[in-house]
């Protein structure tokens, strides 16, 4: 029925994942712009009461695929149900979280439906498109906007001909916003057997170890973040010292993570977490587009860098030109001195 669908992921604890709620919030805005309804697809076992969470985001229809074989997530049955439902419902737009699950599922589904898919979008908008070569014009397409080519360019991608238009978005990129507290839609149960067969259950999950998330970098008000310029795992201690004193968290760029200085959970940027703290202290970060995409909505940005021309300085509120080895201990010292 040409609506907007969000694949809603269910966490280990049986909740709807934050990224899915963020996408419902964005989906509702897109649906309102286009005059469409918002539908949620939830696949799992023992699904109950999730509608209480989902409806306030403006969900008009919830599709539950509820079967004990459907948790934990496994590619083939989830892909069969998702693609099967989409063939039946013909959505206009479908959004997935760019999580381990979403990035495994969405491409399989896109291939089944032979439609386009854009990964890790940092912005989604509605707009028109002129195809100059074929002299065709299109109204109200989904603009899927993402950095590309090492972040040196920002690409706007459209799918003029194929439906649904599919995109994945990282957690934290869209804002989670309740549409209406007492909003009510309808609940539909999917006949799982109609969409799956035995062949979808050939893979067996033998063992799982899932841990509670250790770092809550998304919720931090102050983030002290380090780039490749920090130089080593040992040097990151300077950042931890300041973060601990200020009650903040430590973040990092992909280069610092790839360099082995710090764990991946702390990566900020297009392929990491998106953050909006009130203060972002960037240490030795040159500032690639992908990194900026994950932090440029911070209320205040301080850039500490020996390179006075670091691209990040262009979006900073304060630029301290100097070595973080010198500056960070001084910040600790003066904060202690003045907070007494």
């Amino acid at each position: 029925m040409k609506n907007i669908f969000v694949y809603c992921e269910v966490t280990e604890e049986g909740h709807v994942a934050d990224v899915s709620l963020e996408l419902l919030s964005k989906g509702k805005k897109l649906a309102t712009t286009l005059g469409l309804q918002l539908e949620a697809l939830v696949i799992g076992s023992d699904l109950k009461d999730l509608e209480k969470t989902l409806y306030p985001y403006g969900v008009d229809v919830i599709h539950y695929a509820n079967d004990k074989s459907l948790f934990p997530y496994s590619t083939l049955p989830h892909a069969a149900i998702t693609a099967g439902l989409f063939k039946q419902e013909q959505p206009e737009i479908v959004l997935f979280g760019a999580t381990s699950v979403g990035r495994d599922l969405a491409p399989r589904v896109a291939s089944k439906l032979a439609v386009g898919l854009t990964a890790d979008c940092t912005s989604l908008e509605i707009g028109d498109h002129e195809d100059a070569k074929n002299k065709k014009s299109y109204k109200n397409l989904l603009y899927q906007i993402r950095p590309a080519f090492g972040g040196n360019i920002i690409a706007t991608i459209v799918n003029p001909e194929t439906r649904p238009q599919m995109a994945t978005v990282r957690e934290g990129v869209m804002k989670k916003e309740i549409f209406k507290d007492d909003y009510k839609g309808v609940l539909k149960n999917i006949d799982v057997k109609a969409f799956t067969s035995d062949i979808d259950f050939v893979c067996e999950i033998i063992d799982r170890h899932i841990e509670a998330p250790k770092v809550n970098i998304k919720g931090a008000q102050i983030i002290v973040s380090g780039g490749y310029g920090v130089g080593s795992r040992e040097n990151f201690k300077l950042l931890y010292d300041l973060a601990e004193l200020l009650g903040g968290e430590v973040g990092a760029t992909r280069a610092a993570v790839d360099g082995g200085f710090i764990e991946h959970e702390r990566q900020i940027g297009q392929t990491g977490v998106t953050v909006r703290p009130k203060l972002y202290i960037a240490c030795g970060i040159s500032g690639s587009v992908q990194h900026r995409a994950g932090m440029d909505q911070s209320s205040k940005i301080i850039s500490i860098n020996i390179d006075k021309d670091a691209p990040l300085n262009a979006i900073a509120d304060y630029v301290i030109t100097g070595s973080l080895h010198e500056v960070l201990p001084k910040m600790v010292k003066y904060y202690k001195q003045h907070s007494k």
């Binding site: 990035r103 495994d104 399989r108 195809d131 040196n152 799982r208 899932i210 841990e211 100097g322």
Partner: protein
């Protein structure tokens, strides 16, 4: 047992130097070195580990790209692959992930029967992680993404430990299957000196033609030096599903990144400067 490794040659976007941008703000591709996609090297290592565990296995490396992508095939031969196929045609240009996975799946069908296809999770030039799952779907075989460790393999099944956001999971799948390998898996072993000597003259037919010295007699006597080259016609692919025309996603617009300067307060690392910044932030209740 046939093990296939999918490898891609990519611009080294992780080492973008100051000369990577031209004066008009566009990307200077010439300034970016072409490298073996990092996670595809992890994939090659996993393929070598599979080969070490089963009898009579061969590793076939497949790369789709322009003629110079033969470099990554040679590199794979130096490190442990047995054979290489370059999938190359102007008709593939501008392919998105769907058109790419269709093209690769047509090549893999020609290389059938195979037991396992192993690729990197994603390539650093696009970071989409889509081609692996889409190729598996086109071949109608199971996919195991984000592989970190080969746990077990026999004639009928493969068991893989996967790296997830919040933990690990061990999955057993029947063969054939497609595995995408995470960067946290074992790094690839280095070039083997004897293999490097053996394969340094491995050439594609196009490279052979371009050489001033005629190596064809040598390639005839040493067939392992042939890197096979397949065009769209060789694959029997439907032209409408290839390249830009076969790609449902279109690039509407490319914006070069232009930084507009905010009015930043620029200070030095001198004590008085750092102190004034800290005091100002504290007065604004940001600290």
């Amino acid at each position: 047992m046939r093990i296939i490794v999918l490898a891609k040659q990519v611009p080294d976007t992780r080492n973008v130097g100051k000369d990577a941008m031209k004066e008009d703000g566009t990307v200077n591709r010439a300034a970016l070195p072409a490298i073996f996609n990092p996670e595809d090297l992890n994939a090659l290592e996993m393929a070598i580990q599979v080969k070490e565990r089963v009898k009579d296995a061969e590793i076939v490396v497949v790369s789709m790209g322009p003629g110079r992508a033969a470099e990554v095939i040679r590199e794979a031969l130096y490190r442990g692959a047995d054979k290489g196929y370059l999938i190359s045609d102007m008709k593939f240009a501008g392919a998105d992930t769907l058109a790419t996975s269709y093209t690769l799946s047509m090549a893999l069908k020609k290389l059938s029967p195979f037991s396992v296809v192993i690729s990197g999770r994603q390539a650093i030039d696009g970071d989409t992680a889509q081609v692996g799952p889409q190729t598996a779907e086109k071949l109608d075989i199971p996919q195991i993404t984000y592989a970190e460790k080969l746990v077990d393999i026999d004639d009928k099944s493969i068991t893989i430990k996967r790296r997830l956001e919040r933990g690990v999971e061990t999955v057993k799948s029947p063969l054939p299957a497609l595995v995408t390998v995470h960067g946290s898996a074992d790094p690839c072993r280095p070039r083997h000196a004897i293999r490097t000597m053996r394969f340094k003259h491995a050439l594609t037919p196009s490279e052979l033609q371009a050489k001033s010295t005629d190596y064809s007699a040598m390639l005839d006597s040493c067939s392992y030096l042939r890197i096979h080259e397949w065009s769209a016609a060789d694959l029997g692919a439907e032209p409408a599903r290839l390249g830009l025309g076969g790609s449902p996603t279109k690039v509407k617009k490319i914006d070069n990144v232009v930084l507009s300067h905010k009015d930043a307060k620029v200070v030095t690392s001198a004590d008085s400067d750092v102190e004034s910044v800290v005091v100002e932030l504290m007065n604004e209740h940001l600290l």
